[in-house]
């Protein structure tokens, strides 16, 4: 017995280290399992947050002769909602977005992504048009500059044209109340210099 006792005594810190490692692995597993239940588990943080919007130049869906540039939207914050008539989740999101747009809290601009012109117009006629204006990105080129991966996606852009927030997937009332509106409140509290500029 005597020769094995020093070995056992010496391995105690090793055992302790092993137990710590085991608990850490279990904690990681638990974290992974919990995360896998979240609806937005696959959504990526936008690489654009804190950076200016891309310098886009897109026609309006309702009148292709009018083009809107990034600079035209400066001066007040706006919410940019990416949708397509081919996107069932956009249809689900539509009533919630409409309710938010009706509060007139902020300009809500539509970004019609890779859509058929007639289908897009029909969709808006059928469900109602919550947007102040709708930009049409038919070939999806500009969407790459925005880092758009799938519809629906929603951006919040401040008066200086800096992307402040993005949500991938359908907006819910909880996301509007707990994320979008607090972000807006923060923008409204921004330095006075920012709010002095009139909206276009």
């Amino acid at each position: 017995m005597s020769p094995s006792s020093p070995a056992r005594r010496l391995s105690l810190p090793l055992l302790l280290g092993g137990a710590v490692l085991f608990v850490a692995v279990v904690a990681l597993l638990f974290y992974g399992v919990r995360r896998s239940g979240l609806a937005d588990r696959d959504s990526l943080p936008s690489a654009l947050i804190g950076k200016p919007t891309p310098a886009f130049d897109l026609p309006l869906l309702h009148d292709a002769s009018i083009r809107v540039r990034a600079a035209d939207l400066r001066g007040a914050p706006y919410v940019l909602n990416v949708w397509g008539s081919w996107c069932p989740t956009c249809r689900e999101e539509h009533p919630i977005l409409t309710r938010f747009a009706l509060t007139k809290r902020v300009r809500v601009i539509g970004y019609n992504w890779k859509d058929e012109h007639a289908d897009a117009l029909h969709w808006l006629e059928q469900l109602g048009n919550p947007y102040l204006l709708v930009l049409a990105d038919t070939d999806g080129r500009t969407a790459i500059d925005w880092g758009i991966a799938a519809a629906p996606e929603t951006f919040l852009v401040d008066a200086q044209g800096i992307v402040r927030w993005k949500h991938s997937g359908a907006l819910t009332q909880a996301i509007i109340d707990n994320e979008l509106i607090p972000q807006l409140v923060q923008l409204e509290r921004a330095p006075a210099g920012a709010s002095v500029r009139a909206a276009p």
């Binding site: 005597s2 020769p3 094995s4 020093p6 070995a7 010496l10 391995s11 090793l14 696959d42 990526l44 943080p45 936008s46 690489a47 654009l48 397509g84 081919w86 996107c87 069932p88 989740t89 992504w113 890779k114 859509d115 058929e116 070939d139 999806g140 080129r141 969407a143 790459i144 500059d145 925005w146 880092g147 758009i148 991966a149 799938a150 519809a151």
Partner: protein, 151 residues
């Protein structure tokens, strides 16, 4: 009769296919295939696309994915190649828009040190544990050497 039967089958197939479509539908796609200038360019394109991750279906590479955005991004990557941009510049272009996530091989920087060197660290730690164990056993063993039934 045969064309009619074929048409019926086709219609049935279309209905079934429509019913089985996943919830996230796809926007209209440009059906023209990517136009490579030569085989070398095609090889370079495939090598690059295999290193980029699809931003929508995240367990597929840009080369493998059939998602619409992957289709668009492949076209964009080829356009950038035609503009004479290097692989590194193209990767940078995508990282600026979609984040580090698009790279299957993240860049080595302070934020990714653990990712890059963590496995080597674990290996070293394991080696150290085994080394100490062996040394301790070797120290503990000699007195027990004459009673093999202990083992």
């Amino acid at each position: 009769m045969i064309p009619r039967a074929a048409a019926c089958l086709l219609a049935l197939w279309l209905v079934l296919a429509g019913a089985m479509l996943p919830a996230s539908a796809q926007p209209a796609s440009d059906p023209t295939p990517l136009a490579y200038r030569d085989a070398a360019e095609e090889a370079r394109f495939h090598a690059l696309a295999a290193e980029l991750r699809c931003v929508q279906c995240q367990n597929q590479s840009l080369a493998d994915s059939n998602a619409q955005i992957a289709h668009d991004l492949r076209r964009e990557v080829l356009d950038l190649m035609h503009q004479g941009r290097s692989d590194a510049q193209i990767k940078q272009f995508l990282v600026e828009r979609y984040g580090e996530f698009v790279l299957y091989r993240p860049q080595v920087e302070s934020r990714t040190w653990l990712l890059w060197f963590g496995p080597a660290l674990l290996l070293l730690a394991g080696a150290a544990v085994i080394a100490t164990l062996i040394r301790r056993r070797a120290r503990a063993l000699p007195p027990a050497a004459d009673e093999p039934q202990e083992w």
